[in-house]
Symmetry: D3
Subunit: 228 residues, 6 copies
């Protein structure tokens, strides 16, 4: 099975400080190794998380323009990708592709590719969608801080409804309703969702704090929200 | 003045066939040379036009996936960029940047940069916005088939209202109301418009079939729609 | 068997307009897939065809120099290569190599490589010869509009003699006698033929309008002209 | 004057947390702009600091090998370089060179180049020396946490002697005496010092916490330790 | 004036051994510096000489194929280019372009570019012609072992006629008459001569053992053979 | 077994002239092919030898700076790598990686990688150590002119002691005691030895003039000095 695994940047850090969550990362590494041994093919996309946020904050202090703020976020996400490549050793393509062209070259090897963002003005969710579409992936596994897709923000609305399963069109409409706030992306962004929709890609949303759910979801168990 | 000149792909072709409009292109080349002599700095972004559309059509016949359809459109837009580079000779950066990283390298020269698209999943309008933001451009000149920005599609609505001037926020709302149809982009797409909005970039929309208006617009004459 | 398949650009278009011949392209794609399943190794070289010619014509209008006219032709041939890569999906190396160095990198993967021209001043026939020599290919299959190699232009000379088989030295002498007209190449050009000769490479000339002949020729049937 | 400015990574962070010292960075940016206006030519080399240290620590947890630990440190130093490039805008070469070859290309522009490390197994001090030698720089300005070069570690030895001026040979001998502890580099490392020695490069050591000293040192005032 | 200076590889070596002729090289370096100060723009193309020949000889022993033999020759010519770049320091583009694409990037700087060969199957003469055409050069200065262009090989024919001046068409015919022997190129090769002819480029042939003639030829003195 | 084979540059030349030792090179090629058939994985690092020395000598004549002298040495070592790649044909990665980043890309193929130096200021021994560490190699085989590691220079000290086996720490101390003379490296240099030490890499020192010992050493026979 060809799987794109999107690891949200927030999962890579502990609490509120810029301290990497090495234990969770280690678990992800083991799961990736295990999936690879089951002869799944994998592309991993890592987010920028708190490191991105800190860099952007300092960038704003330095009057860095918006594109460059995005560049800093992209670089942060690549640092996370590099950590995974180091830990995965020989089974990973040993560099972080830095443009769509480099992804194309990397894909021609049989290795696990790990990358962060590709370009300013584009979220790592959009990258995950685009690469899944280009690669004709069977499944995107999206890890974030939340258990399921809700119809509205569950933190603000106690009556928010959680979905076990959603059609892509319904999912797209939920995403569109969410406002894209500048510099920060919601559960999934509109550009990424449009690609899912136009190519009818299958995506599963999981809580990345429960990494044991990744393999379950790949086997078809319903442990988050399935969109297809 | 730092100017990003976006030339819509449809302008580069005659009527309905895939025949390049060499006369109009020649006029653009002369205007670009003239602007350069007035010591304006220029980055040119060319669209994909009918060549893109034909390639995508054949791509669909060949069951090429959506990302790859976009890739074909991007390649078409680059061919157009190459034509301009050939015609501009020594005053142009002599290759078409093919990724944001290559744009960064090219920008460090003092030449006129000409490029097409950068990545699948991204319109050449979004490219123009992004590069204008990155480069801290003073003005984007957007050439297309229409004279002005309208509040709705003037072909369908005889009562559509044309604007001489628009705030970025109002412009953004108009764009959002337009539907983004897959494979084809409206006057400007949402991703490009969001960048305009977040960085308060100034953009002028002109009818590219009246190339004499380009220099007028740069001098501040109101010959299309000014958004700022 | 290591096969270089050269697809003449003229085959990729219908009649006189710049309209791609999607049906024939689809047949080529299927043949390439089938050859790959029979565990042949393949490198495909595509020509520039009518798109190249149109771009060069406009380039001349724009007073683009000769090298740049060649550049435009090379870009056209790469667009065709990209179409094939899109259609071949996972079995193809997913980018078009743009220099001999990039060919070297690509060759180290086990994928089908598809490329167009490499450099101005060099035909795609020369590219096919050079890559065949570098790669120690067993066979070049050259597809063009004509059925066989003739001793003179069969359109002008009704008594032109067609060959089923030719020695490389005789073939070389025929090519040398043909005049290389600027901007356009004959059946094969001298530079390409010299490489065939110096390395005693085997090449088969076939009419690409009868794609069923490709597999026959690879199996050793005499359906065009064999040069070795 | 051709100046290589080495900014030690530790200066870029506040106290003990991984929080960037945006105020000091802002001051450096202003000084660099001012030096550039005085028509000095500049190459900036940034260290990896606490971000490097945190990444390496997590890398060790993940059993990443030593080369890869260095890679993580190099990536951290590049993030810092990117921040400066963003803040310097048009006067900086707009990408971080990632290999010696990329430095060579970048040097051919007239922009300020900002880079971090180049390769695992090599400190950013060695990079500063190497680039100064390659570029025939007139001066290296080395900013760190200490005021001057001492004959031994002043934290451990209250009788450590501070130098206002040192010959390169004496400086080299001091560096050699210091032990190079793995993963961390002393004031300057041996490889970097050897390059200084073999090409008789001039270097000034300053306390980077007093950024006003940079311009003084360039004007020839004795505000740290001059080695030549 | 835009000048392409082609330095034949044989000039770079003494007698029969593989020992570089440092004295002559030093003279060339001084002439290039002087021409640059007179604000001529320069691109230098160096040949492969005896180093190329030795490498190819060993390559043949190792059963390296013809393309790879050419690759070895190209690498040898690049080594010579690198020597010049080192000696020219800041006024030279600091890397050897290794493909036509890299030439395009390099040309966008204002530096002196020095390169060797670009591709197997192509002589450094062809490279000089191609770059002169692409760059719209005013003059190619071709340095070799002979004083002038002769109508036949002067070593074999005592009655060979030397030309002071030749039309491009006559020159082309002389070159065509010469046989291109594999692995070694005559005074100029056919591919290079065709480019001269199609773009009516001006070229001067000089004896490189008398380097004082270079500046004379550029000033218009008749010290070799002028072809235009 | 993952083996890094370091071939000292001096082995590649006969006696005192710059004439390649094609016989010995041919033997190395055969051994590499044979090891590859026994499914060992190989990375080959070649030194610069007499070609490097000659180029550096001429470079000094031309007042080329130290970094550039190193660059010339690196280029020489790459020429040697290219010879091996040509001779190994399909089993080798077909280009010489020129930076650590390019090594990373190359390593993701399953081919034998052959490279020379990577950067000025770094010996090919350091390259061998670094790549062995990055690649988690099982063994480095170091071929030079001497039979074993001695405690001091055996040419100067008749009582020098040869080792069959050495701990890494003892080996490191011997290397440190040797003086690193500028422009030339001893048996192994300190930077390379430090990497061996920090990662406890296993290395065997053999006399490369007796190539039959390579396979013996890999099988565990004691034919030189084992350091681990």
């Amino acid at each position: 099975m060809k799987i794109v695994l999107k690891i949200g940047g927030s999962l890579l850090y502990r609490d509120d400080s810029v301290v990497l969550n090495d234990e969770l990362i280690k678990q992800y590494v083991n799961i990736i190794k295990s999936l690879s041994q089951q002869s799944h093919q994998l592309i991993i996309v890592t987010g920028g998380g708190k490191l991105a946020r800190q860099l952007i904050k300092v960038g704003i202090e330095l009057k860095v323009n918006h594109t460059f703020q995005d560049v800093l976020g992209v670089e942060a996400s690549r640092i996370h990708a590099m950590l995974f490549i180091g830990a995965l050793s020989d089974i990973a393509y040993r560099d972080v592709p830095r443009s769509f062209n480099e992804v194309r070259t990397a894909i021609s090897s049989d290795k696990i590719i790990v990358l962060g963002g590709l370009q300013p003005g584009q979220s790592t969710n959009a990258v995950a969608s685009l690469i899944a579409e280009f690669w004709d992936a069977d499944l995107i596994v999206n890890l974030s801080d939340v258990d399921k897709v809700y119809d509205k923000d569950p933190d603000k609305h106690p009556d928010a409804k959680a979905y076990d399963k959603l059609s892509i069109d319904d999912f797209y409409n939920i995403i569109v309703k969410q406002e894209e706030s500048p510099g920060r992306y919601p559960l999934y962004d509109r550009v990424g969702a449009e690609i899912l929709k136009r190519s009818r890609l299958k995506i599963v949303f999981l809580n990345g704090r429960k990494p044991e759910n990744i393999e379950k979801a790949i086997k078809g168990e319903n442990v988050g929200t399935i969109v297809c």
